[in-house]
Every structure is written in C-alpha cells, then in structure tokens.
Symmetry: C2
Subunit: 258 residues, 2 copies
DNA sequence: ACCTGAACACCGTTCAAGT
DNA sequence: ACCTGAACACCGTTCAAGT
C-alpha cells in the first residue's frame, strides 16, 4: 500500500503528539502562541500537503492563501516563499500527487508482463482519485505543461516510464503512444465519473441541514423513476476492473498490429 | 449542424450591426451611453450565453460577476436578478449547453437503430466540447444534482431519453443503465483528453510573448525525445470514431447478454 | 420591474520592514 | 533567512435607494 502522504521521509525528530500522521493539519488557529512556535518548519512540500488536506476537508473553494496560511500557523504572505502564487500552488498539488504515485513501489515498478505494469498503475491512480475525490478534478483539468502530456499521468517521468515499459514489451512507437492515450482516456473517464458521484454526495460547503432531504422530483421521468434502483447501485470497482481488462485486451491487439 | 448558440430564436427586431451572431458580446465598456441603452433586454439566457462567451475568450478565471456585468453593459449587482450567485451562474452555464444540445434536432432524435442515436449524441457532445474547450471542464466536473447523474449528459431529460431509446431497442434495465455509464465514461475520457490538449496550447491568460518558445527540456527523457513526433501527431477525430465503434460493439454484447 | 451606489467581508499579491 | 503589517486592486454579495 502507498504511504498516506504527508509523512516526510527524512527527519522525524520530536514526535509531535497533536499531528498523528506527521502532519495533515499543522496548526489550528489556536490562541496559544507557544504551540504555534513549535511547528514543523515550513517547506514547499508541507504547504502542498496541507493544501491537499484543505481541499479534502472543505473543497477547492476553501483553498485560499489566507486560509492555508492560517492552517499552517502563518500569515498568507509567508506562503509566497514556497509557491509563486495560487496558480503555482495548484500546479504543485498536481505534481505532488503524481510524483508521490511515481515514488510508490507498489504502483510504479518494472514488470516482466506489461499488463501487470498497467494494472498496478491503474489501481494506483484509482486509489489516488478515491482518496482525494475533491482534488482529482484538478488533476484532470489543469492545463498540462506540453500539449502531448495527458492527464492524469501528467509528468514527464511517468510518460517516460510508461513508454519505456511498453516498448520493452514489443510495442512499436505508434502502438506505445496510442496506448498511452487510450490508457489516459480510460482513467480519466472512469475515475472522473466515479469521483463526480462522490462529489455529488458530499458536495462541499453545501452541508444542508438533514431536515432537507430534497430528493429530485422524478414525476415527469417515468424511465428514471423505474430505473432508480439500478441507477443507485454502485458497481464501480467491478466495472473498473472489467473495463480495464477489456482495455488491456484491445491494447494487446494494438501491440500485435504494430 | 447545430445553431451557434446565442441566436435568440424569437424576436430579431432591429438588426444590430455590431453583434453579428445576434449577441455573443452584448456591449463593450464603451463611453457612449446611447449605445449602451439600446441593448437587448437582459435575461437569464443572455447572461448565461455571455458567461460562456467570456470563458471562451478569456478563460474561467475571467468570469467574474463584475466583468460579466461590464460585458453586458450593466453593473454586477444587476446580474443577481437572473442568477442567485456565481455558483448558480456556473450551474446555469452547464444547463444551457446541455439543454441546447437536447434541443438540437441533429443531435437529439429518436432512431430506429440505437447505434445511430448514440453516434449522433456522441458527435454532438464532441462538437460542444471542441466549440467550448475552456467550458467543457466545467461541464465535466461540476457536482451533479443527484449522485446517479453522470457528466457530461447531466440532465434528467437526457437521461430519460437515453434510457428510453435503449430500452426500446431491447436493452434490459441493467444493460441500459450500464450503457449509460459506459457511454458517459467514454465521452468524458476522450473529450477531456482532447480539450486538455487544446487548453495547453491556448492556455488562458498565459499569452506569453512569442519570443519565449520555452520548449520543454527533454534531455533526460530519451523515449519522449524519440517519440515526440508521434506524440505531437493528432488523430483525435479518427481515434474518437474508432473507439466509439468499439464501444458500440461492446454495448451490443451487453444488450444481448440481457 | 429593473438597475445602481454604497458598503462589507474576503481575496491575491507586493513590498518595505521587522527579527 | 524567514515572516509580518500595511496597502492595493479586485472580488462576491447584500440592501436600501433610485427610476
């Protein structure tokens, strides 16, 4: 399994009792200044990890420089030492998640069978998306660095590794590139769909009091009414696996076609 | 072909020379007050159409209540008669585009062959995405009204029509719902991929002067370097069509499986 | 009925100043 | 080296007031 993100690998001196994962939340806007002073030193990674945490907990709209600063026990202006601005902050979040995935030995590995490589990769990205459902849309929609970089595997490292693995497995130039795109499209489609359903449930900020069930009125949509049971069932994990198998089969055809 | 959106079907009195499509841009922040007074009356649709236009031209970040107001020759506060706030504005944009597609007889039609129905629908959504590449991510990622509503066909009308067409063609409850999801996932994956490439090219705001080509440095990525020609080639239209055919074949299997 | 002016809270960002 | 205070431009939104 992958590390929960946030554990800074080096230096774990002074075990901090009030930040269980090593961090996650760094400082509450507490009145005790002594607590604030004993914070882990700021770093770009710490800033980005807390930005992810803020989105996870309160949605993308809650990610402001000022609130992120408060979460870290610091004024907003201090963040400009680690990010050049809010845009860079968002780019940094994407980079952090994608690079963390790259560093995860359960996800990124050379395999004798290319199918295993893609299986691990696909499930790794899926775990990422489900762990951060409110962040994944950002990974999916931020404009990439180059036009041929495709979300969600939007790093040159990942592309290089992906293409190398496939070519080593007998994919031609054309087939490898085609597979990169098909794989990206597959992940994007399935995971954004899955994450969007969760987004509708939790729907940030819109924490309406439970006295408002506000069920959609289906009276003029007989089919929807009849099919609501099927529509509400969730098979996403199985469907993901089956579709992934189907994709791998198609890629094997692509591979043999050269 | 679908109407270019913005042409208000009723009332085309006083042909306005400076708004070729009937609207698109309504009023430039011009100093001539007389021109501003002769504006088309405000309406929710007009507000939404201009919001789309603003995103098309300058990106999502440029869509502020104040700038949208200025574009319409009005103060920002006037917009609150037609939208309850910025969130409702974004929801309205999505609804406008999706409903316009529903109203397009070239896209939404009953067909004797379900494959034709899905073909027209798929190409209609693709045209929408390519016509508004900076808006499509919003269509793709806004939280849906109900958890079982999936982007990009995120209206009850579309879902009802979709499911009805498939059931009329012999799909079981299960198969129809499964197909709705597979189709949604297909569109999302392919179109977001395609649109993200364009977003990287135009990249709103970032209109860097052409003296900064700033090509990505690939020196440490030999595969990327070698495959850059293939990576830069664009076959998206053909790939879309082929993948759509493959999907329809799979759905036919699903249909017969019951 | 429809729009505006004034006001408020909050935002991103810069920069000189503090330690 | 790292953070803050003050300041500025811009933002969403409310509301009483104008026509």
């Amino acid at each position: 399994m992958s590390e929960p993100l946030g554990t800074v690998p080096d230096e774990d001196a002074t075990p901090d009792p009030d930040s269980p994962e090593g961090l996650g939340r760094a400082a509450s806007p507490v009145t005790d200044a002594a607590v604030q002073r004993s914070r882990e030193p700021l770093s770009r990674r710490l800033v980005l990890v807390n930005a992810v945490g803020l989105i996870d907990e309160e949605g993308l709209a809650a990610l402001t420089m000022r609130r992120l600063g408060a979460r870290l026990g610091v004024e907003a202006m201090a963040l400009y030492r680690y990010v050049t601005g809010r845009e860079d902050l968002l780019d940094g979040i994407v980079e952090l998640l994608v690079d963390d995935l790259y560093g995860d030995p359960d996800v990124h590995m050379e395999a004798d069978v290319w199918q295993e490589y893609l299986q691990r990769l696909a499930h790794g990205v899926r775990r990422l998306a489900l762990a951060h459902p409110l962040v994944f849309p950002v990974v999916a929609t931020r404009p990439p660095a180059a036009p041929w970089v495709r979300p969600p595997l939007r790093s040159l490292r990942w592309m290089e590794s992906f293409l190398e693995q496939l070519q080593r497995s007998g994919f031609s130039d054309w087939a490898a590139v085609e597979s990169y795109r098909a794989f990206s499209s597959f992940l994007l489609g399935h995971l954004l769909l899955e994450v969007s359903a969760r987004g509708a449930e939790i729907s940030p900020v819109e924490q309406n009091p439970p006295d408002t069930p506000r069920r959609t009125d289906l009276s003029s949509y007989p089919r929807l009414q009849a099919l609501e049971p099927e529509l509400s069932q969730d098979h996403s994990a199985e469907v993901f696996d089956e579709s992934l198998e189907a994709l791998l089969d198609r890629l094997e055809v692509t591979r043999r076609t050269r």
